[in-house]
């Protein structure tokens, strides 16, 4: 744990989003409550996940070392302090950092470098959702890390857990020739509108949103998202109007679903309210108990798109107007990026062979003449702290700091004057990031797999690294048809590596042979990256992990030799058929005995005898914690803060905070019966009185209505000043009210035949 954590707490953080700083203070209090045993581990796990602080492999304190499973004796193992079910407090974890639409500036890159050095292992990792991830982070360090991010306008809030994950967008938005219009401001508007919104706090699973500027390319991957939008324009009353094709219910995972068209033209001003209405319907009707069926795709499939749409539109009609729905639209032109240097063409100067290769694959000519976007290919999405600082320098030197991460786990520099491209490439080569091959077969996407993920079955990064190395060696001589293929690898069936939308996809599985377990990858062929992840590939069978390079070799070889004119890989696979493919790979699926070939019994990049015994309980699904449980936990945190204020002799503030905690508890219970209750003190007190106090639902078996009376009296006296004695009393009463609120919630759960009334009384 870092010695400076307490010092960061004392630093005044000037964040562009002050509410983020308060959010970190709340999280820090929750950490303290958990350490004191005053917060349940399941609740803490979900609250931690909603701040992006994720578990990591071996955090149950067990690790297979190749011979036996060792117990990792962390200091906290002695106290049995956990940060979630079976998750040791001191075990290193992963911190996910949200980067809406992948947009970053140089200052943010520099902070990311500092955090990678000081809290992680010196590496920052770009994910398939344009996030950053840091690994091997101690949970005690996460508040300081979050403060430093907040200072440059970055949040980790809702990066994991059952919430709206990072909103992704095509990294070429605003500069692409095929887009209808720049979706950046809309992605940003929606991301910040939904961040922490009360209507997205009660999901049964995560919710992923993507934006695309056009229909045909792959950059937005709209079809594989819970909610995806594609920019479209339409002439309405003689004037051009912006809007979106709106899709819902897509998703990969074990059971991939293509998103369904919800609306062919959703006017821009309807984007945020419709997203809000969808969120409310998902929260209300989505599955909560069975997490395997809790994504919105199951709800859409179950209801059918027409019925789902009807319910959403009905919900939309009940929403109270919110000025934020359209406020951001007036600033849309103002956020347009500007170049740093004048547009100038590359000219005819003779360039090196290395530059020419890079220019061919990594440079995209923007719709703005004389400007280009350059892709920096990151091997396996990894970048060092030194490289991050160098990229920050480059973005300042050649652009106005216009940087984006991509879902291909790369970084793009936008708005480079084309004449500067040789200098940009030379600078990238100096820091080892000048490789060509962006978007080609060597630019392989991979999830973390068994390297760090608790759910990983096989070493996806190990395989991706091996394939990348082998393919890069012959990429210059490779047939053009192969070069444009996509390879994506996931460590398990959960599809974080997006294997379904690759030409050649692989996901980790295992098979038994004798007394051993053998790492395998399931081969998934013919997925479509373009057309926003237009179709998913088909599983062809599992092959031992060490033989996957041979699978790639055979399939690409046959494609080159037998493909018909301009035939895509997907079409080729469909034409030759699954039986043919299986026949081609059949010999590779047979497993020799351990004595015959022990190498097959280890995974890529890992010399340990393979096991699936290290697989833990994943946290992707988050913990199912109800809205009410969160509400009551907030009330508990507030009363804890009131106690701290008492200790600091801040009596007035302590008394007020104690009342706030009672109000929060009352509000939580009232919302269980009347979800849309206006959040004002008078109305909550009134509803509490009629629905919970007068009905005796809040009454204690022995104390009767005493605790309810404490709250109602505190409500009446909430504007009065407190003597030290009164403040003490108010804090004590608040604690009793919160205890009573927990009992009352249990009673409500026991009689849970009464459905929540979501749209009014």
């Amino acid at each position: 744990m870092k010695a400076s954590n307490s010092l960061w707490r004392e630093q005044k953080i000037e964040s562009p989003f002050p509410e983020l700083v308060r959010e970190i203070e709340i999280y820090e209090t929750e950490i303290e409550l958990r350490k004191q045993g005053k917060m349940d581990e399941k609740l803490f796990a979900e609250t931690r996940l909603r701040r992006g602080a994720y578990g990591q492999r071996y955090d149950n304190g067990k690790r297979w070392d190749g011979k036996e499973t060792q117990t990792l004796e962390f200091p906290s193992s002695k106290t049995e302090l956990t940060k979630g079910a079976n998750t040791v407090w001191d075990a290193p974890g992963m911190q996910r950092i949200k980067v809406p639409f992948g947009g970053m500036n140089p200052e943010q890159l520099e902070v990311m470098a500092e955090l990678a050095e000081e809290y992680s292992d010196g590496i920052a990792h770009v994910t398939t959702r344009q996030d950053f991830q840091l690994h091997f982070v101690h949970v005690d360090d996460t508040p300081a890390l979050m403060r430093r991010l907040a200072a440059v306008g970055i949040t980790t809030r809702e990066a994991c857990g059952n919430s709206v994950r990072n909103v992704t967008a095509c990294p070429l938005s605003g500069v692409c020739n095929t887009e209808s219009f720049d979706v950046t401001p809309y992605a940003k508007g929606l991301a910040y509108f939904l961040l922490g919104h009360p209507d997205v706090q009660d999901f049964g699973r995560k919710f992923k949103v993507a934006f695309s500027g056009c229909k045909d390319e792959g950059c937005g991957l709209v079809n594989m998202h819970d909610m995806g939008v594609i920019a479209v324009k339409k002439i309405v009353d003689g004037a051009e109007k912006r809007g979106f094709e709106l899709y819902v219910g897509g998703g990969l995972g074990t059971v991939p679903h293509q998103a369904k068209l919800f609306d062919a033209f959703l006017p821009e001003e309807e984007l945020l309210p419709t997203a809000q209405a969808i969120s409310r319907v998902f929260a209300r009707l989505g599955e909560k108990k069975n997490r395997n069926r809790a994504r919105i795709k199951f709800l859409v499939a179950q209801l059918g798109i027409e019925e789902f749409k009807r319910i959403v539109l009905e919900e939309r009609a009940t929403l109270q107007p919110d000025p934020r729905w359209t406020a951001y639209l007036s600033e849309i032109q103002e956020v347009d990026e500007k170049p740093l240097r004048p547009a100038q063409s590359l000219g005819d100067t003779l360039q090196t062979a290395s530059f020419q290769r890079w220019y061919k694959t990594n440079v995209f000519h923007q719709k703005q003449d004389g400007y280009a976007t350059a892709t920096i290919t990151l091997p396996l999405g990894d970048i060092t702290a030194d490289q991050l600082r160098a990229v920050a320098d480059l973005s300042r030197r050649f652009t106005n700091g216009t940087v984006r991460t991509t879902v291909d786990q790369n970084i793009v520099l936008r708005w480079i004057s084309e004449a500067d491209l040789p200098d940009v490439h030379a600078a990238l080569e100096e820091i080892g990031l000048g490789q060509s091959g962006a978007g080609t077969i060597v630019d392989i996407t991979s999830c973390p797999g068994t390297d760090t993920c608790k759910l990983g079955i096989s070493a996806s990064r190990g395989l991706a690294g091996e394939l990348r190395q082998r393919l890069a060696e012959k990429s210059h001589t490779m047939d053009e048809a192969i070069q444009s293929l996509h390879i994506k690898v996931s460590g398990c069936f959960n599809s974080c590596g997006q294997h379904h939308v690759a030409d050649l996809g692989f996901y980790g599985v295992s098979r038994h042979s004798g007394n051993y377990t053998v790492p395998h990858f399931q081969v998934v062929l013919g997925g479509e990256w373009t057309h926003n992840a237009g179709s998913y590939g088909l599983a062809m069978g599992a092959v031992p992990a060490k033989r996957i390079p041979e699978v790639v070799e055979r399939l690409t070889g046959r494609y080159v030799s037998e493909r018909e004119k301009n035939e895509s890989f997907k079409a080729f696979i469909q034409r030759i058929g699954k039986v043919q493919v299986k026949t081609m790979l059949d010999d590779l699926t047979r497993i020799p005995t351990h004595d015959e070939d022990p190498t097959l019994y280890t995974d890529w990049g890992d010399n340990r005898e393979f096991t699936i015994g290290d697989i833990g309980v994943g946290e992707c699904a988050g913990e199912i914690v109800s809205h009410a449980e969160f509400g009551l936990a907030h009330a508990e945190r507030q009363v804890f803060e009131a106690q701290v204020l008492l200790d600091e002799n801040q009596y007035q503030k302590a008394g007020e905070t104690a009342y706030t905690s009672m109000y929060q508890a009352a509000l939580t219970l009232v919302e269980e019966l009347f979800f849309n209750v206006p959040k004002d003190h008078d109305r909550v007190a009134e509803e509490f009185r009629t629905r919970l106090y007068d009905t005796k639902l809040f009454w204690d078996e022995y104390a009767g209505g005493k605790f309810g009376h404490y709250y109602l009296r505190a409500y009446e006296k909430r504007n009065e000043s407190f003597t030290p004695e009164e403040a003490h009393r108010r804090v004590e009463e608040a604690q009793l009210v919160i205890e009573a609120a927990h009992s009352c919630y249990s009673k409500l759960l026991g009689s849970r035949s009464l459905p929540r009334q979501l749209a009014g009384i």
């Binding site: 870092k2 400076s4 190749g66 060792q70 000081e118 292992d121 820091i431 190395q469």
Partner: protein, 193 residues
Amino acid sequence: MNIQHVNIKFYLENPETVKLADFAAIFNTWIQQQRLEELLVDVADYLHVHHGPGIMLIGHEADYSLDNRAGRLGLFYNRKEQLDGTTEEKLVQATRAALTVAQILEKENGLKFNGSEVQVIINDRLLVPNTVETFTALEPEIKSFFDQLYNGATYSLSHNDDRRERFTIIVKTESKFDVDTLLKNLSVETAHA
């Protein structure tokens, strides 16, 4: 000044002969054998990254890596847990830990470290800002430590106050020092203490 999280790097004399990829397996064996008197957790392979941390042995108290940052291969020690004691004592702890691992790698794996050049980083920008003032404040204790490590031999001490970097010093001596001698020098002082 309360320094914590000392990082120290000893460079390899024979980097071109080192087959780094083998060390993932070697470090995994160390976890298997619980080779060090501290909790070892995992191995991380970053060989695919240019001038990166190479192969890492992740621990709870500290990480060790055969590190290639700045294009120079060496053994990098990163103390993560806090320690009590003076600046000198913390430098001794980190250096001894790094040298102990270097000694094993020399004896068992044929590596050869150059003890005549050391990089020291304090891995906490807020606690120990990278300023001239910090250097001035810490210099006496740092010198006292290196006087001990190099047993009175002449050495140079340099500091670069680049605002983006962590507090870093480079120490070089023209005398030849090997790992065993440096460990011995540290032990002598400890015995005196």
